[in-house]
Symmetry: C2
C-alpha cells in the first residue's frame, strides 16, 4: 500500500483499486491468458474496453447524442494544433481567452493556421485571475478557453455565453465537477489528471462543427478519421485506455461526478481555510477564481519555505513544490486524492505555525 | 505464468520478465513509494528512464552521434504525415517504394504535402514480393521504404543504395536484425512490436536533414521541438516508455540485436521448413522476400483451415488467423516469442498432416 500523499500536478494520483487491477492485468488480463500489454487492439476484448470507456464518459458527463467521444494521442499540446487545423481557415479569426501558459501555447499554435483575437488576458498580473468582462465577437470562428490553470491555481467558476462554438481545454479539471457539455462544442483533455494515466487524450466534439475547413487534413490530425475509426484508426494506446476504463468505473461506483464535486469542494475548503487562517501562509490568486484542483500558496516569510517543504515531505506529502513561475507550494488535489491526505497537509501547516509563529 | 503462445501481429508478445517488473511498478515503483502510473514525468527518476531508453537504443542499434533518438506519440500512422510535413516542400517530389498497405498509407499522406514518385510497386500481385529493380531519382527529396510488411509476410532483405536521404518505416522489424543505421537518414517505428507496448513511437533522425522546409510547423508535428524537449516537450506516454526501457534492458541482457537475429532466423527456419515440407501447407509470398517476423501461409485445401486453427488454438497458439487480405494464417514471431512456441506450432502442423494427408 502507498505511504505517500501524492499532491503532484500530473501525471497524478489514481485510485489504489485501479493500480491493483491494472497491475494484475499486466500479468494476466481477464480470461485471455495474456498480458494487457500484448493484447491485440483488434480483439473483441479490447474493442469492448474502448466502447465501455466512451460509454462511461458519456454517462458520467451526460454527453448529448450529437457529440462524439474519441480517444487520441498527443495530449492537450496536440489539441492546441488540431483544434485550429480542423476548425479555422487561414483567413478566419478565432477568439482566445488567455489565462496562462497553456492558453498561450494554444494561441501560438492557432496563429499558424489562421488569425487569433485574444479577447482578454491576465498575463500582466502573471495570470493570477480569470478575466471576466470580455466580449466574444459574433464573427469569430470559435471561442477557446482553458477551464483550469494548473500553474497558477485559477479556475473558471462560470463559462461565458458564447455566440460562436465554444472550445475548452479541460485537461486539469474534467470529471471534477458538473459541467453542461451542451454549452460547449469541443472539449479536450489529456488523460493524465482525472481520466487515467498519461498517453491518452479525450476529445468530445459536436460532430456538426467538423468538415468545414478548406485545407486537406492529414489523417492523424483529422477528428473525422478518428471518429470513423472508433478511436482505432490506428493502434491506440491500449494500456492507457484500459486504465482509464478502470478509473471511470471507479468514479461511477463512487457516485459519479456529482460526488467528486462534493469531495473536491470539501478538500479545497479544508486547505483554503487553513491557508487563510494560518498566519504563515497566503494564497497567490484572486479568491473568486481559486481552483479546486490546484491550490497555489506561498509563505509570508519565503525563507521558511524550504523547511516547510521538508516537514511536509517527512509526513509523506510529495509533489508540493510550486511551479517555478509562481514559487512556493502547489497542492494538486485530483479526484483520487482522499480528504485524509489534505488533512495530513493542514496538520503539518498547523504544527509549523505553532513552531514558528 | 502464461499458457499461451502469442503469435499476434501487434501489439505483441513481450518478455515475461518485463510483464513481471512492469506489474510490480504499477503497484509501487522503485523507491518512489508511488505507482509508475502516478509519477510526474518531471521527476529525476522518470527523466532517467527516458535517458536510459534512448541510450539503450543507441547502443543496441549502434546509432551514430549525429542522429537524434526521440520518443513521440501517434504510431507509424502519425509518421506517415510527419515525415513529408518536415521534409517535403509543396513543389518537391519524394520517392516511395510501394510494398503494402502501410507504404500505401504513407504515400497518401505524403501527397497532401508535396509530390510523390512511386518508384516501384508490387500492388498488382497483392504485394507478394518486394520490387528490386528500381531507380531512385537523384532529384527526389527523400526515398521512403517499409522494411517489413506485416500483412503480406514480406521483408526487405537488402536496402538500396540511395542517392537521396533514405527514410524507413521499421515498425515491425526494428531490433530484430542488424541494420546499419548510417545507411538511413530517418527511421521510425511504432513501439508495439519489438520495442514495447503500444502508445510510444521511436524516431531516429539525422539532425542535418531537418529544418529545410518552408512551411511553419505546428509544434507537436515538428521533430525539432521533440528533440529540443528531450522527448518531453509535453507529457510523454510515461508507462509505455518505462516498459520499453525494461524490454530494451532484457534485449541487451540476452545478447543484443545480433542474438535476436540468430534466434529469429532459427524460428523462421523452423516454421518455413515445415511449411515447405508439409503437404498440406504453402507459403504465400516470394521465397526470397520471406519475412522473419510475420510468416503468412495457407492450406492447399482451404476447407481445412478452420479446423487447423482450432487445433492450433487447442495447443495454446493464439493470434494465428491471417489478415483478411491474404487469408489463411499469419504467425508473427517477434523477439520475445520463444523457439519453443514455434515448435508447438510445427508439431500441430505435423499432427494435422498425419491426420489428413
Amino acid at each position: 500500500m502507498h505511504t505517500k500523499h501524492n499532491f503532484g500536478a500530473g501525471p497524478c494520483i489514481l485510485p489504489q483499486e485501479v493500480f491493483q487491477e491494472a497491475s494484475q492485468a499486466v500479468l494476466s488480463w481477464g480470461n485471455t491468458g495474456l498480458s494487457i500489454l500484448e493484447i491485440s487492439h483488434r480483439t473483441p476484448e479490447f474493442e469492448a474496453v474502448v466502447e465501455e470507456s466512451c460509454n462511461l464518459l458519456r454517462e458520467l458527463m451526460n454527453i448529448p447524442e450529437d457529440y462524439k467521444v474519441i480517444f487520441v494521442q498527443g495530449g492537450a499540446s496536440m489539441q492546441f494544433g488540431m483544434v485550429p487545423y480542423n476548425l479555422l481557415n487561414e483567413n478566419e479569426t478565432a477568439a482566445y481567452l488567455e489565462t496562462g501558459v497553456w492558453a498561450n501555447k494554444a494561441i501560438k499554435e492557432a496563429k499558424l493556421f489562421g488569425h487569433v483575437n485574444i479577447v482578454a488576458s491576465s498575463k500582466d498580473s502573471n495570470y493570477t485571475f480569470i478575466p471576466k468582462d470580455f466580449v466574444i465577437p459574433a464573427d469569430a470562428k470559435y471561442f477557446h478557453c482553458t477551464s483550469n490553470n494548473t500553474i497558477y491555481g485559477t479556475q473558471m467558476q462560470a463559462f461565458p455565453k458564447s455566440p460562436v462554438p465554444m472550445v475548452c481545454d479541460m485537461s486539469s479539471d474534467i470529471l471534477s465537477r458538473e459541467v453542461n457539455v451542451a454549452d460547449f462544442d469541443l472539449i479536450y483533455a489529456g488523460a493524465q489528471k482525472n481520466i487515467g494515466p498519461a498517453g491518452a487524450t479525450v476529445v468530445i466534439v459536436k460532430e456538426s462543427i467538423l468538415g468545414k475547413v478548406d485545407r486537406k487534413l492529414t489523417s492523424m490530425m483529422d477528428y473525422r478519421v478518428h471518429i470513423e475509426g472508433g478511436s482505432m484508426y490506428n493502434t491506440p494506446p491500449v494500456f492507457s485506455i484500459y486504465v482509464a476504463m478502470l478509473n471511470l468505473r471507479w468514479l461511477k461506483a463512487q457516485g459519479g461526478v456529482k460526488e467528486m464535486e462534493r469531495r473536491n469542494n470539501a478538500k479545497a475548503k479544508e486547505l483554503y481555510d487553513e491557508i487563510d487562517r494560518n498566519s504563515l501562509f497566503k494564497g497567490t490568486c484572486a479568491v473568486e477564481d481559486r481552483s479546486h484542483m490546484n491550490i497555489c500558496f506561498v509563505m509570508n516569510n519565503p525563507e521558511l519555505e524550504k523547511e516547510f517543504l521538508k516537514e511536509a515531505e517527512a509526513a509523506g506529502c510529495v509533489g508540493l513544490k510550486g511551479h517555478r513561475s509562481v514559487g512556493g507550494f502547489r497542492a494538486s488535489m485530483y479526484n483520487a486524492l482522499p480528504l485524509e491526505s489534505v488533512q495530513v497537509l493542514t496538520a503539518v501547516m498547523k504544527a509549523f505555525e505553532a513552531k514558528h509563529a
